[in-house]
Each structure stands twice: as structure tokens, then as C-alpha cells.
């Protein structure tokens, strides 16, 4: 009883672990992707139109 319980539990735990791992890897992938996007955005704002330039652009868009 105990054995079968343990086995069942182990399987459940393994499945849960797999799910967690895939979830974590997905989360990691999303984190890396988000970081890359943020990096590109900050680079673009800093060395492109500048913060004031972006605010001006947003202002123009919202005004319309």
C-alpha cells in the first residue's frame, strides 16, 4: 500500500516537477526575451531620440 502510494506519489511529483521545470524554462525564456526587449528599448531611447524626444512623440500621438 505504502509502496504503491509512494510510486503514485512519485509519478505525480515527477510530473509536477516536469511541469514546473518546463514552466520555469518558459519563464526563463520569457525573462531573457523581456530583458532583450528592454535592453533594445533603453538603447534606442538613450542613443536615438532621447527621453525628451520620446515624450514629445508620445504627446503628439496622445493629442491626436
Amino acid at each position: 500500500m505504502q509502496d504503491s502510494d509512494t510510486t503514485t506519489n512519485d509519478e505525480v511529483v515527477e510530473n509536477e516537477q516536469d511541469n514546473e521545470e518546463s514552466g520555469e524554462s518558459n519563464r526563463d525564456k520569457f525573462g531573457v526575451f523581456a530583458k532583450k526587449i528592454l535592453q533594445k528599448l533603453v538603447l534606442f531611447v538613450s542613443f536615438g531620440p532621447g527621453v525628451l524626444g520620446v515624450l514629445w512623440l508620445l504627446g503628439r500621438i496622445l493629442k491626436r
Partner: protein, 294 residues
């Protein structure tokens, strides 16, 4: 006011001809030379008018003691670093190219970070800079070149406005190199560079995100669009080149870390004292020094 006259030759189809006409001895010295570190006289000739404009018209650099740099033979120039962008090195290069009676190039040792930005490392190499490694420095000195080193490194350029002209401890590697290669050291004090970009705060987390050595907040960066964010203040500069110091130690002493550290500190304090004196004598940030003090 800047006169803009030095920009006349900027963007010419044949910049080499303009350089040959204006600075024949520099041209003759380096034209046709194969350089293993990537120095390209054409790229130098293309950019020289812009940096000469900065040197003569915009920053109105006063250069004292240029005659202390030898006409030939190797030497290591050591100075205080400043100004977010390494313009101080470019100004000393311009002084050496235009104010010395026997113009020579200075090979500044630059950090690896420049080579992570596409195109920047190649451009720096083409204008005479060399990736900072011991082997490269030894090769340059063996070729009797003038090597420029800023022992404060990136920490020196990233100083905030409050820390201006307060030198950060010198790394003793340059002393080790000087003793090992029996090369004289030439200390250089530069005033002006620390004020061209008033740097109020370094956003370390953004710098880490962008893999930059620092992310400065200045009155124009990152607020204004490119290229206005790189416009420096027209501060009056002074470059004071000291007499060469022959350390006179045998080659074996290069391994003596204590000795190297002691010499590095002494040199750092010498430059700091000179900076303090020059700053005391300065009348104004934008007009500089009285003519009789030059």
C-alpha cells in the same frame, strides 16, 4: 567663439592630400606604413580636422611642455583620465600631431569594451589606438612608439561631477611595463576634461542591463536626441606635459610589486598636485588661465 576654420577640410574626397599639405612631416612618417594594430593614416586624416577643431577652436587647449615628448624613441605617457568619452587622449594626440616640432602618433591602450560596440573598436584601431594587453604594449614599445596609458582606466572616465579632478588610485601595471622595457615615463596632467560632461549620477543597473561600463546622467544625456546628447561644454582645457622620468631600475625589479605600487602612487600624487595647482590658478571655466600664467 569657435572659428570653424579647421572643419574646412572635413569630408574632403582626398583627406590624405590635405594632411600632406598641412602636416608634411607627420604624413611622411606614417604614409605607406603597414601597421599590425590596424592604424590607417587615411582614417586618421579623415577625422583629424574634426579633432583639430575641438583642440584649437572649441576647447582652445593650452598645451605646456610638449617639447618634453621625445622626437624619437619609446616613452609611456601617463595621465589623469576624464570626461565620459575619452576626448583627453584625442586632445593630447592633436597636440603631438600639430604642436610638436617632430609630430608623432600616440598609441593609447584602450579597454576591450570598445570592441564590443560594432564598428567602434575598428575605428579606434584605425585612428591609432590599441587593445590594452601586456603583449601589445610590449610590441609597441619594442617598435619605439609613444604609448599612452590611463592607469585609472574606465573608473577614471566614469567619475561624477562631485569627484572631478580627484584621481583614483593608479594600477601599477604601467610601472611594471616601464621597468621591464626600460622606458621613460612622461606624466601628463589634463584640466578641462572632467567638466565637459557634468556627470551627476551613474545608473549602475541600467549600465549592467546595457553592458556598458557606466550609464551617466548629464544635463543632456539621455534627455536630448542624438547627436545633441554628446555635445560637450566649451570648457577651456590645459594639458601640462611633465619632463620624462627615467626610473633607472634594473629589469628584475619589474617583479617587485611593492616598488611598482610605490612608484605608481608617487606619480599619481605628482599629477594630483599639478592638477590642484592648475585648478587654483584657473580664472574661469570657459576662459581658462591668465596669459602670464601660461
Amino acid at each position: 567663439m569657435a572659428s570653424w576654420t579647421n572643419l574646412k577640410t572635413l569630408g574632403l574626397r582626398d583627406p590624405l592630400k590635405a594632411l600632406e599639405k598641412r602636416n608634411p612631416s607627420y604624413f611622411k612618417r606614417y604614409v605607406g606604413e603597414e601597421d599590425e594594430f590596424g592604424y590607417d593614416i587615411k582614417t586618421f586624416a579623415q577625422w583629424e580636422p574634426f579633432f583639430r577643431f575641438c583642440y584649437e577652436d572649441y576647447f582652445k587647449v593650452d598645451c605646456r611642455g610638449i617639447e618634453n615628448i621625445p622626437e624619437s624613441g619609446r616613452a609611456i605617457l601617463v595621465g589623469n583620465h576624464s570626461g565620459l568619452l575619452p576626448i583627453d587622449g584625442a586632445m593630447i594626440t592633436m597636440a603631438m600631431c600639430n604642436a610638436h616640432k617632430s609630430p608623432r602618433r600616440i598609441r593609447y591602450l584602450i579597454t576591450d569594451w570598445f570592441f564590443t560596440v560594432p564598428g567602434l573598436g575598428e575605428w579606434m584601431s584605425a585612428t591609432g589606438q590599441v587593445r590594452a594587453t601586456l603583449a601589445n604594449a610590449e610590441k609597441l614599445l619594442a617598435n619605439d612608439e609613444l604609448v599612452g596609458i590611463y592607469p585609472e582606466g574606465l573608473r577614471g572616465v566614469g567619475k561624477t561631477f562631485q569627484e572631478r579632478y580627484r584621481m583614483i588610485d593608479f594600477h601599477p601595471g604601467f610601472v611594471q611595463l616601464a621597468i621591464a622595457t626600460q622606458t621613460p615615463l612622461i606624466p601628463v596632467a589634463t584640466v578641462g576634461g572632467d567638466e565637459i560632461y557634468p556627470h551627476f549620477r551613474n545608473l549602475k543597473s541600467v549600465a549592467r542591463l546595457l553592458k556598458m561600463p557606466f550609464y551617466p546622467i548629464t544635463p543632456v544625456f539621455p534627455w536630448l536626441p542624438f547627436p545633441q546628447q554628446f555635445f560637450p561644454l566649451p570648457v577651456h582645457w590645459l594639458v601640462n606635459i611633465h619632463k620624462p622620468i627615467d626610473l633607472g631600475y634594473p629589469v628584475e625589479k619589474a617583479k617587485d610589486r611593492k616598488l611598482c605600487l610605490k612608484i605608481a602612487r608617487e606619480l599619481q600624487y605628482d599629477i594630483q598636485r599639478d592638477l590642484n595647482k592648475l585648478l587654483r590658478d584657473r580664472k574661469s571655466l570657459f576662459t581658462g588661465w591668465e596669459p602670464d600664467e601660461k
